[in-house]
């Protein structure tokens, strides 16, 4: 048990970019809009957008799992389109509009997708959920009458190892109804 914990801790430290403290560290200033607000951040330009969101800006909705664009846990909306923030260099976010699950909340109110996930119980461990909600919201932003197939396609890049997906699909269908109102 203790051994496992140590390995997990060790693994985390390896991945946390702020532990890379060297004299040669390069920093550049990057400007973009994050959840409706202009941000300016000084960071190593070859870090991923995900690393900067989580470690520098402390926006922790997007999660890191596979770090190769296969699981979708890090999904954010970039200039209107869902993308894996683990596969975008922070330098490539310059001048763009980024939205995370945090930004979907307006005036303290959850958006229809967030509401529906709670109502339908479309959550178990919860780790994949911010990415799921961002992908589903990106779908409903451009299509308020999605078919089940369209919902499945829109979420095919988001993996969930708990729910078996059916409640997630139902939640998005319910959210679509409320989105239209």
């Amino acid at each position: 048990m203790v051994n496992t914990l140590l390995i997990v801790l060790d693994f985390r430290l390896e991945k946390v970019p702020s532990s890379e403290k060297t004299a040669l560290r390069i920093e550049k200033t990057v400007n973009f809009r994050l959840n409706g607000e202009q941000v300016t951040v000084k960071c190593p330009p070859a870090y991923t957008l995900l690393e900067v969101l989580r470690e520098e800006l402390h926006v922790t909705g997007p999660k890191e799992d596979c770090a190769k664009g296969e699981c979708g846990a890090c999904t954010v909306i970039k200039d209107g389109a869902p993308v894996c923030s683990c596969l975008v260099l922070v330098s490539q976010a310059e001048g763009s509009e980024i939205m995370t699950s945090e930004g979907l909340v307006k005036d303290g109110r959850l958006n229809p997708v967030q509401e529906a996930f709670i109502e339908q119980g479309a959550v178990q461990c919860g780790h994949c959920i911010p990415g799921m909600i961002v992908s589903a919201s990106a779908l409903l932003m451009r299509n308020q009458h999605p078919t089940v197939d369209e919902i499945r396609t829109a979420l095919s890049g988001n993996l969930c190892r708990c729910t078996g997906y059916s409640k997630i699909i139902t939640a998005v269908q319910e959210a679509a109804k409320n989105w239209r109102q």
């Binding site: 970019p17 560290r25 390069i26 190593p44 296969e70 894996c84 596969l87």
Partner: protein, 288 residues
């Protein structure tokens, strides 16, 4: 070299990008959409000192038709290719491949030029581009080079791209009403799957007797580079192709597949899959 030590250069336009490439290429890697490069960086497979972020070079992002040819800029994403009426009408095997690459998130960022430059034998845009007889256009300060796609790939992950060049676009003859084509892929699941085998075929100019003037069959993930199935191509042009011979014609392509065993499938399995997938592709192209 830690990632915190890597500089990223973001040129404002193509000319500036070519200037940087011309000056000094030491430790420099080009990054377009980033989906391959960022993973390689994190895995330590590549250790550049500087990255040339060409995503900012907007003039390389386009899909257009000039005379009878389709031109696709290196920075066109798979989503751009899937959603353009030009590619849907005149390059549908490439659209089919683009729809099956990664998932939505990847299709929004990954670029055609990136897939060409990464030069993986399992790069899904490559078989359709071979079947379409595409030309790769490279640019440097010295000018542009038109390279037929088969000459662009020299060997496993090796391309004819010079250190001072970047991939600017691809172009190929638009498919028309008398042309046929299809793309088929087998992965371990529908999305986010690297191909076990993929095939593309393009049959052009069906004449009065029902035979085609030109046939191209390209096989992916079965050799160090994409392979043309030439015996099979000859069988497709010699006489009118009928439904009852499709299976035999498709099986001819197995000769050109020289796959390896890896985690996605055994060599033997891949060879068999070539025949089945190509049968499906020809069936769809001719009767679908």
């Amino acid at each position: 070299m830690m990632r915190s030590e890597i500089d990223v250069l973001t040129p404002r336009n193509l000319d500036e990008a070519l200037g940087i490439l011309n000056e000094n290429q030491t430790g420099l890697r080009i990054v377009a959409g980033g989906s391959d490069i960022i993973v390689q960086l994190r895995d330590g497979v590549i250790k550049p000192q500087r990255l040339l972020n060409i995503l900012s070079v907007k003039e390389l992002r386009f899909v257009r038709k000039q005379d009878d040819r389709i031109h696709i800029g290196a920075l066109a994403t798979y989503n751009d290719i899937t959603s353009s009426p030009l590619t849907r009408d005149h390059a549908w095997p490439l659209v089919e491949a683009s729809k099956q690459i990664g998932a939505i998130q990847l299709q929004n960022t990954a670029t055609l030029g990136g897939n060409l430059g990464n030069a993986s034998p399992a790069g899904d845009s490559l078989p359709p581009l071979y079947a379409l007889d595409a030309v790769v256009v490279t640019r440097s300060k010295a000018g542009a080079r038109d390279i037929p796609i088969e000459e662009f790939y020299l060997s496993y992950r090796k391309t004819a791209l010079k250190p001072n060049e970047l991939i600017a676009e691809v172009h190929f003859k638009a498919l028309g009403a008398n042309d046929r084509g299809a793309y088929k892929k087998l992965g371990l699941r529908l999305t986010n799957a690297i191909s076990i085998v993929d095939v593309a075929t393009v049959l052009r100019g069906r004449n009065g007797e029902g035979a085609f003037d030109e046939a191209r069959v390209a096989l992916g993930a079965v050799a160090p580079t994409i392979r043309r199935a030439r015996v099979c191509e000859r069988a497709l042009t010699r006489r009118p192709v009928t439904r009852d011979v499709l299976g035999d014609v498709a099986a001819l392509a197995m000769e050109d597949a020289v796959p390896i065993d890896d985690i996605r499938g055994s060599a033997r399995y891949r060879k068999d899959v070539v025949a089945s997938l190509l049968y499906e592709a020809l069936e769809e192209a001719l009767y679908g």
